[in-house]
Assembly symmetry: C3
Homo-oligomer: 189 residues x 3
């Protein structure tokens, strides 16, 4: 009797197991929104304005017809395309030792308010991290926090995917800003 009940239980468990393994639909539902890795960094952008070529970490390289490349254009900088190579630090101090570089571009893409589209990488080559994390997405700057996509990675971040939450940590005129990036990776290999 005991034996028969035990076998019944086993069979029931088996059916559940086989079912869940065979159905990718089901598998999708099982994915949890727990990050497999969490990282926090700051990066610092100093835009070239015609007078700061020594310190500048970024430059305007495309503008609309009404713009120029040493002053961000009117209409919320719509159309200005900026290339950057910004130091990444572990805290919010521009002068802390950089642990990597944020490299890529952003483009202001709305006339009515400040908003941008970003394509860039965090490039690490230190004892802490080696490899790169690649990002893309919309950055509505006026929101306190903005989510962009982690679209891939290499080295220590091989094949990773996730979401990075950006927030503006400081903003000084139109020359310097500092972003905080809370990176949550949900696919780790």
């Amino acid at each position: 009797m005991e034996l028969t009940r035990l076998i019944s239980v086993l069979f029931f468990l088996l059916v559940i197991t086989v079912g869940s393994s065979a159905s990718p639909q089901h598998w999708r539902k099982k994915r949890v929104r727990e990050p497999c890795k969490k990282l926090v960094f700051y990066f610092h952008d100093i835009i070239y304005n015609g007078h700061n070529s020594k310190n500048a970490t970024s430059a305007i390289v495309g503008t609309p017809a009404w713009g120029n490349r040493t002053i961000l254009a009117g209409q919320n900088h719509f159309g200005d395309l900026v290339v950057f190579d910004d130091p990444i630090t572990l805290d919010n101090n521009l002068h802390s030792p950089p642990v990597g570089r944020a490299q890529g571009f952003y483009v202001y893409d709305k006339k009515e308010i400040f908003t941008a589209w970003l394509g860039f990488s965090f490039v690490f080559n230190s004892t802490h991290h080696r490899g790169s994390i690649n990002f893309a997405g919309a950055d509505p700057l006026m929101n306190k926090t903005r989510d962009i996509s982690v679209i891939g990675g290499t080295g220590d971040f091989f094949m990773t995917r996730g979401v990075a939450t950006l927030s503006t940590d400081a903003f000084e005129g139109e020359v310097y800003f500092r972003l905080r990036a809370d990176i949550n990776l949900f696919e780790c290999w």
Copy 2:
């Protein structure tokens, strides 16, 4: 006797189950090409031409040496880089209430025919959808339909991936065009 046969069956099922769980190779083969979500949107692009600053939703911000920023360049616009903030609608009417904005850039990248490379986001902030879908890929404009990649998403579209099929729904001179985007998501979290 019955019992022994039952146990044999159980064991056989177990072997299959354990086998299929342990092999990522096998797992790959099980993926189905059924979208977990399907969406259809239209977006509307009005390029700045020097006279339409009020209505324009996009502007040329980069050109080759032989181009300028108020007229799309010769040689199939090769090298023209356009930044856009286009309204997204549910039907093909430019004047329908927008449900979001398509924001990013495209660049014409071939001298012999019209073709472009796109990096952009659909940004939603309404009762229907909240969040963003990020896209990248080649857009050979002369083909009736063109597939680009959904490379990530945030909010309602957290971590999504898929394919978007673009088709040119209208094309008026070199100022207005309307694209239809059939978005098929194959990874939903």
Copy 3:
């Protein structure tokens, strides 16, 4: 006795199986770093310099304030944005029959050394391959090999992800370079 032991073993296996299926954490660890597809291509970039409009496959379309669009800018070309439509070949001969086109853009993004950020696609439309592979990432040109991300694909490369290792196979002045791309795909549908 025998029967009881067999059932115990079965139960033990079941627990393992159920456990491993239910835990996405565990599933993550099982992923193997074996590519599901390996591809090698070469692509050839001839930058427009004001005199080679017939042969050029790329052009500078954005520059910093101190640059122009027929000569790559000083400071390691920082800020130069280049649009390209390069032939892809199976070997390192520029004159081999192209099997596809590499289309997109790169932007030099560092003042101190040569490094770039790339967003582009391999577009195939032949008997060998039909579809596209989309790439994004940082390209520190002075390294012998550089890894960028495969962020998606269409057609034969539907939904693919992976890593491409780029190496500079030839470099002639500031007009021609040839890259070798070793593409390793780790997600195949």
